[in-house]
Each structure stands twice: as C-alpha cells, then as structure tokens.
Symmetry: C2
Subunit: 347 residues, 2 copies
C-alpha cells in the first residue's frame, strides 16, 4: 500500500457526498519524494481532482507521478479529459486505485502511447468507495441508503405510534453526518404528518440535503415545520394532479405512477447521486423490497417493545419465500453508547 495512494483515497473520502452524480476523487502529485500538488473533485461541473492537483503543482509536475483514487477519464464531459491534462503536464507515471468500469477504459493506452507508465494498483478501501457508484450509474439511479431506527424486535414505534425513545444523542449525531454525506433525504407523507420531522443536519457547517417527500395521494399539510425552513428545496412526488402550492422552495412533481423505480430515475435526472431514505414502515419496506437499496443502516435501541407490530420496519403484503428475501451482508457494527449501529450492503 503506497502512502501517496492512501492520501489520494483520504482526499476522496473528504468530498464524499458533495459531488452529485460524479464520484468523489482525490489526487496527489509527487516529484522526487515530495508532494507537489493535492486535489479533490469538489463539485460536478468543477475541475476534476487530477486537474486541481496538477494546477497546484504547476512546473513541479514535470517528471513526477500522479496518484489517483480512480482511473483518470478520457472523455469530454463537463470538463476536458484528464488524460490530456496529465500528458500536457509532463507527468511520468500514473498510479490509480480503481478502474472506472462505467467509462470506455482506453485511458491506459492513451497514456502509455504518450510514454507514461501506468499502474492500476487495486485498493480494497477505494473499491468500497466506488462499488455502489458503478452499479447505480449504469442504471441511471441514485445510490440508496435506507436508514432505520428500531427496537431490538424490529419496530420503529409502539402500536400507538410512540417513537421518541428510540435514539440516543450519539445516534442523532451519526444521522446528521449521514444526511451531510447524501444529496437528498426521502420520506413518506405519513411519517411527515405523524412526526412533523425537519430532516436537518445539525453538525457544524453540515450540508442540508434536499428533502424529498413521497405523497402518492397528495395528502400534505403545508403548515408542518419542514416547510418553514426555506434554505433547502423540497420536492414532492405525487399522483394527485390537484396538489398545488405557492411556497417558493417547494416543487411538486406529478408522476402517473409513483413507483420506486420512476422516482429513482427522476431523482437521478435531477442530479441526485446519493439518496438517504428515512421513512416509516411503508416507504422503508417498499425500498427494501425494491432493487434500489444499496445500503441499509440500522440503529438498534436496547428495548423490546412487543405489541402487534404495526410499525415493524419491514412488513410485506405477500409472504416472501425464504430463498427470495432480500440478502444483505454486515460490513460494520458499532456501539454508540447503548445503541447498536449495523451497516449492511445489499448482496
């Protein structure tokens, strides 16, 4: 493991969640044993990480090595191809950690023809950074993280709807971080009307995600707290053609069918690369049953609450054959004081 390649991956992790439909990427330019430039892709449409790092390095790039978390691009997108910039800068060697399987992979040969050594050095850390990105980009849908807070017996609330007991302070902080690293947060109108939540990011200079409300029937109370914060756009998906509002930061999107698939495609078109689902049992279960969930994060409170299970986080109308239930693998577990956080990836 090269320390410089490791630095490039660290830089990518710093900008995770702020690059929209683009992947987070970091780059480090090294010459004669010294770092001469560092860069990260800060925003879709902005300079790529390689360009930032080469711009910082200027003439010191000549004869140097560039370490990149992801294979450099060869296409004209919002910016010119990075391989051109690398060749023009006089770089001698390119080392990258992950191949971009969503792009025509002719970068190696373009660089090699220009006399540049190219090394693809596989890094598991970096692969985890891009795995879901590759999958969802091909489908033109956002990466989806479903977040659930529940009791040890899998319920988001008691039968009467009480749920305030579920999360401690550390979990709340962790959820703020989650929101910061996503472009948008989605919930259902049911949860909205019942809990009156705000979905803000109360960490220092946290990025507030766009709020997406799924309101199939158009049952929305515009006096709820969520509509009072005018800093972040709110998008409402509905099949109800009569639903209108004159609130400036609220956009109503009419779909003939508010299926998870249709909403996903529409969100991606609107620039959402990373979506966090924070909803009640109905919407949560819809996403968990769909093919559009990449990650599941469960916060368990140390309680068993019983009852009929009206608010169990996963319930389905049909009985699913055990061979067909959604399969996940646990990638991380963490104690947050008395709450347990489990991080799972869809298999």
């Amino acid at each position: 493991m090269s320390q410089y390649l490791n630095y490039a991956i660290q830089l990518a992790q710093m900008v995770e969640g702020q690059t929209g439909l683009n992947p987070p990427v970091g780059a480090v330019v090294v010459n004669r044993g010294r770092i001469v430039g560092i860069g990260a892709h800060l925003k879709k449409g902005d300079k790529h990480a390689e360009v930032q790092a080469l711009d910082m390095a200027k003439d010191n790039a000549k004869g140097g090595t560039i370490y990149i978390s992801l294979e450099p691009c060869t296409h004209f997108g919002s910016t010119p191809p990075c391989v051109n910039k690398i060749i023009e800068a006089g770089i001698n060697r390119v080392v990258y950690a992950v191949k971009d399987t969503t792009l025509p992979s002719n970068g190696d040969s373009i660089l090699q023809e220009a006399g540049i050594d190219v090394e693809f050095r596989h890094q598991p850390d970096a692969e985890n950074l891009y795995k879901d990105f590759f999958i969802t980009k091909r489908q033109s849908v956002p990466m989806v993280t479903v977040k659930v807070s529940c009791s040890l017996d899998g319920k988001q609330a008691t039968d009467t709807g009480e749920s305030k007991w579920i999360t401690n302070k550390l979990v709340k902080k962790d959820v703020f971080k989650l929101r910061h690293h996503h472009d948008a947060v989605l919930t259902g109108s049911g949860t909205l009307n019942a809990d009156n939540p705000q979905y803000t990011t109360r960490i220092e200079e946290g990025k507030n995600p766009i709020k997406v409300i799924l309101a199939q029937n158009g049952n929305i109370d515009f006096n709820l707290d969520i509509f009072k914060n005018t800093n972040t756009p709110i998008w409402i998906y509905t099949q109800n053609e009569a639903l209108v509002t004159d609130i400036e930061h609220v956009e109503i999107i009419q779909l003939t069918n508010c299926s998870v698939e249709n909403i996903m495609k529409n969100l991606y078109e609107k620039g959402i690369g990373r979506l966090l689902v924070e909803a009640g049992p109905t919407v949560t279960s819809e996403f968990l049953q769909s093919n559009y969930t990449n990650k599941l994060i469960i916060y368990y409170a140390p309680k068993i609450i019983g009852g009929s299970g009206k608010y169990q986080f996963f319930h389905t109308d049909k009985i699913i054959d055990l061979s067909e239930v959604p399969q996940f693998e646990i990638v991380d577990s963490q104690m947050l004081e008395q709450n347990l956080k489990l991080e799972l990836r869809k298999k």
Copy 2:
C-alpha cells in the same frame, strides 16, 4: 471535533517532513456545507496552506470558513501574511487547532477588526504535530529523533560487533518511513567504517534525507558505499582541518568544536528542521545526554545477548545520579511481528 478541522490536520500530516524549517500545515475552505478548497504547505518558501486552499476556492471563499491546523501567520516571511489573504478572500470565519507560540500572536485581533469570527479550537492531535517544532524553533535547532535498534538487554551489537540479527523486515520498512519524514539523518564515522551502511529510503518515491556524518577526528574512508550514491548531499562535520575531498556531493564542515550543540545550530542554519540520529553507542549516548533529543524510538529484537555490553546503546563516562538521568514518557508501543517498537518523548 469538527470533521473539517480534522481534514486540515490530515493534510498537515501528509506533508510532515517536507517543509524544512517550517511547520507542516493543512487548510480546508468550506462554504454552505461544501468543501470549496484544500491546501497544504508543500515546501519552505512556497505558498502557505491557507493560500493554496483559498486559491483553489477562488470566489467560493467569499462568506466561507477556513479551517487550519495552525494559527495563520501575520508576518512577511518568504511569503506575505496569511491573515491579509484571508481578509482579501472575504472569509467570514477562521477556525484553527493550535496557537503558534513562536510568532507574535496578534492574528486574532487583526482578523476580528476586519469583521471575521475567529475560533481557536484546541486539538490534541494537532498539538502533538507542533509541540517539538515550537521548542526547537525557539532554540534555532532541528527537532531530533534518536533511533535505536537493540536487544532486550539494551545492546546494539554483541561484543564482537555483530548486529545483523537485530531487525526484521517490518522494522526496516518502518525505518525507511522515518527517514522519509526527516530532512537529514546523522551518524558517526565509527558506525560508517564498521557497518558500511547507506541510509537510503527504499519505499516508493521516498525522500532520501541528507546524510550527515560526525567525524571529529576526520577518520573517513571515501571508498565506502555511502559515497557512491550521488543523489543526496553528504555533509561531514570534523575538527580535522586536513580532511578534504573532491567528491562533488560531499561537503566538509570544519568546526573548532564538534559538540552536539554546535552541530545542531549549524544544521538549523543550513535548513535542517528535522534530524534523525541513527548511530552507534557513542554518538547515540552523546545525543541522549544532550538537551537536543525530542524523541527516542527503540526497536527491540526478542533476544538477550549478554557479553560485557561494549555496544549497549546508552553508556556514559560519568555515573549519573538517578534523579538526573534523562526522563522520557512512552507515547506509543507497537508490535512489528516479533520486534517491539517503542516511541518516547523527552519530558
């Protein structure tokens, strides 16, 4: 702990060992919850970290916050004051992790008079990065790390001088990293003549430190391997006026008294901010007895070798009273397979 301040500290750590007499510094500019610029001080004389980050951010800096691992400077050194640049960029808030106690600390008030919020947010991680820097800068001497490889009974070699058994591969790699993060490595002519070492950094694109040889009496064999590598300058300190060479990358520095103190002051004048001492018992013991050792790193091999202790790493002519022996505190311990690494700081 702010994540952005943490990122600034990570950036500083990436350039540790390449800034000579200057401290390693990292900076991150944030605006409306997004990183808009990142920077690090890459080399003494180059732009400071704040300037790199603000240059990357351009107009996006306006109204933003800059997070810096170290208090921004207010003086004209090799570059103009960073506080001016911060004010010109239209930054709203400055958050830094460590106060620079070696500079007149009027930065806060200059920034505040310009209407900028300033917050000093103490970070233990960052403090460890600068503690020794502050001490040595005031004395105009390099930060000194003494490295020792020895048996469990404190010997660098058997009485016959055998020492090849001492370190395993992981230790060798770790020592290469140590060298990379120092400006120069110092040894004595005795070790050089006995072991014929090269003091190179065999990690990918590692920076080879300048080699400093202490040869009080001028007893140097210029046919040794160390003189064959012409990539890195070699400086020889001696009291012997007759010692000369025409090897191009070798500089002979005559001092009337080759005391540790005189060599330290001279090295600092020549731009050495971080010195690694890798020597035999005599030079090692001299440094450990002096006031110029900041860090001691010991690699223990799982052997007890006995003998008379001719090569014990710390031996002194005088018996030192127990109340006056050099005091250290262990800051880290790590197993490198069967070798134990201890990291200590002078108290």
